[in-house]
């Protein structure tokens, strides 16, 4: 590890961290003109770990996501996937190396049906996109897998409905299913429950909790109950810097988080040190 932050140093490391990190983000620095949006941001995510990312609007969460996903190439620092440096790789290459993401605003094939969306995902996942001489219908495994996935999501009734006609929550589910269909090593989830009803939120939570055991997850979420319900570790970003990083329970207990995010007054306990 590059730098051990104070919170983490005091805590017992979760056993997951003893394995090599799936995703390592190292001293990321990025700015738009004079506006610094990422300032020395580092984090590691081990296989099976769910890492939460919180911070106020403009804290640089989305930028960090875009940097990890390859939409933005940072000015400094590095991104490593399974020990392999991917800082300069384009998004599609990262995706093929096992990094999947869902988008904050649903980014689906809106005029295609649910089935077709899942089939497109399946073709990419199976690497048969170059097959131009065989009918798609003969790629049984892809078609059947799409149906199975839809079943698991409870979307079998809308299988042949065009996506743009579906409810927001359903589209959100499909968004995550599409990312999971790639069988990624690392999954980035950008506000997975934003704009969803409580019922749908529970659904999504189950879906995320249900993901493969060794998947490394990075999740941005405004609903603190959802976030702390899922995350093993949490990073707090503010003005592009890491304000706090550590086990979920510790971060949850910290004054800053209680004050700013959980809406409760700080309990007078031992002050939490803030890394400078």
């Amino acid at each position: 590890m590059s730098a051990v932050d104070p919170v983490d140093a005091q805590a017992m490391r979760p056993p997951a961290l003893e394995r090599a990190p799936r995703l390592r983000v190292e001293s990321i620095h990025h700015a738009f003109g004079s506006l610094v949006v990422s300032d020395d941001v580092s984090l590691d995510i081990a296989p099976g770990e769910c890492h939460g990312l919180i911070g106020p609007n403009g804290a640089g969460k989305s930028t960090l996501f875009d940097i990890i996903a390859g939409e933005i190439i940072p000015l400094g620092g590095g991104v490593h996937l399974d020990g392999k440096e991917i800082t300069g790789e384009p998004p599609d290459r990262r995706a093929r190396l096992g990094l999947a993401r869902s988008f904050q605003h649903n980014d689906l094939f809106a005029e295609l049906t649910v089935r077709e969306n899942l089939i497109v995902g399946g073709i990419v996942a199976h690497g048969i996109g170059h097959v131009a001489w065989r009918a798609l219908a003969r790629e049984r495994s892809v078609c059947e897998k799409a149906e199975m996935l839809a079943m698991r999501l409870g979307l079998e009734d809308v299988l042949d409905t065009e996506v743009h006609t579906l409810s927001y929550g359903t589209r959100r589910q499909l968004e995550i299913a599409l990312a999971l269909e790639m069988e990624p090593k690392v999954l980035l989830l950008d506000e997975p429950t934003a704009g969803m009803s409580p019922e749908e939120t529970v659904h999504i939570q189950e879906r995320i909790a249900d993901s493969p055991p060794d998947l490394a997850l990075l999740i941005v979420e405004h609903d603190m109950d959802v976030l702390f319900g899922l995350a093993d570790r949490v990073t707090v970003l503010d003005y592009g810097r890491v304000l706090l990083q550590g086990d979920a329970e510790e971060v949850r207990a910290s004054d800053i988080v209680r004050q700013r995010y959980l809406g409760t007054d700080p309990v007078p306990t031992t002050p939490v040190s803030i890394p400078s």
Partner: protein, 327 residues
């Protein structure tokens, strides 16, 4: 995608039957028109793959058509090649040009893709217009047709040539239909609908687009080679940007994303042009036969009306008709 389109096959069957009937019952003039329509159909189908399936609106597709035509002319006249090898070589040359220019073109999107393909098309036209080796603005004449003596036929007979190009058009339709229904076809459709998401999923978006551009260019080159054989003549006009525009209109008239639609669009536009520019047509209507010389005016109005009011074309209309019958 899994049988999105219930209309395409019956539509194709009807078009094939109409073509067959026209060929069987046609006279000399009808066979000439059929050849022209078949060749333009091949050209329009190639653009339909690009525009309808991938959403890449090219305004320079005529460049590959002209390349195929000129390569055939140069190989048969300058180098005295046989027509069939010249046809294959011409198609290959068009493919190479498409690969070379596609490398640059696919990096742009939307209106910029339109502009860069327009520039590519005009580059080819400007070169042919000045190139003395290819007859500059006079073009080249005296191009022979493919030799069919080995099956006892003479391709200089209009019914033989029209049958040959109709069969080639049918083969192109079948091949493209296989491609469109394949996993690769699904990738192209996915690019059309959301290129960004396909890239985020890990799709080889640039490769897929380049390949589509090359396939479309190759088939346009084939159509170009056939038109050189049909008219025995090539001129720089074949590559002018308005030709690209007219083929694009054929695709729109037929219905975007439908191969059969492209054939129907080619037929409608070709017949309309022949009709409107025929003075006896206007005389029979009891109008001034001089109106025939203003056929471009009427075609222009037709283009505008079709693009503004009938965006989904013939195929789209048929599909809606089908849906209203079904439920």
């Amino acid at each position: 995608m899994p049988d999105r389109d219930p209309v395409e096959r019956p539509f194709a069957l009807v078009v094939a039957l109409v073509a067959l009937a026209a060929w069987v019952g046609g006279d000399f003039f009808m066979h000439e028109v059929l050849s022209e329509i078949a060749i333009l159909s091949i050209f329009a189908m190639s653009l339909s793959l690009l525009v309808g399936q991938v959403g890449m609106v090219s305004m320079g597709h005529a460049a590959f058509f002209a390349t195929g035509a000129y390569a055939t002319a140069a190989l048969t006249i300058h180098l005295q090649w046989q027509v069939l090898p010249a046809l294959l070589a011409a198609t290959l040359i068009a493919a190479l040009l498409a690969a070379l220019t596609g490398l640059f073109a696919i990096r742009t999107r939307g209106i910029f893709f339109i502009m860069i393909t327009l520039a590519i098309g005009q580059m080819v036209h400007a070169y042919l217009f000045k190139a003395r080796a290819f007859g500059a603005d006079d073009g080249m004449g005296g191009i022979p047709r493919m030799d069919l003596a080995w099956i006892g036929l003479d391709s200089n007979e209009p019914e033989v040539f029209s049958a040959s190009v109709l069969i080639i058009a049918a083969i192109v339709w079948f091949l493209l239909r296989i491609l469109v229904r394949s996993p690769y076809g699904a990738m192209l459709l996915a690019i059309h609908h959301n290129e960004h998401r396909l890239r985020a999923l890990g799709g080889f978006v640039a490769h897929f687009k380049l390949l589509a551009f090359v396939i479309a260019g190759t088939i346009a080159g084939l159509a170009g080679s056939l038109t050189a054989q049909h008219t025995a003549f090539v001129s720089p006009d074949l590559g002018f940007w308005t030709v690209s525009g007219e083929v694009l209109i054929m695709v729109i008239v037929g219905g975007m994303g439908s191969l059969t639609g492209a054939i129907a669009g080619a037929a409608v536009l070709t017949l309309l042009r022949h009709t409107l520019s025929d003075s006896s047509f206007w005389q029979n209507l009891g109008l001034d036969s001089g109106l025939a010389s203003y056929w471009q005016f009427m075609m222009g109005v037709f283009f505008i009306v079709m693009v503004v009011f009938a965006t989904d074309g013939i195929h789209g209309r048929l599909r809606r008709l089908w849906q209203s019958i079904k439920g």
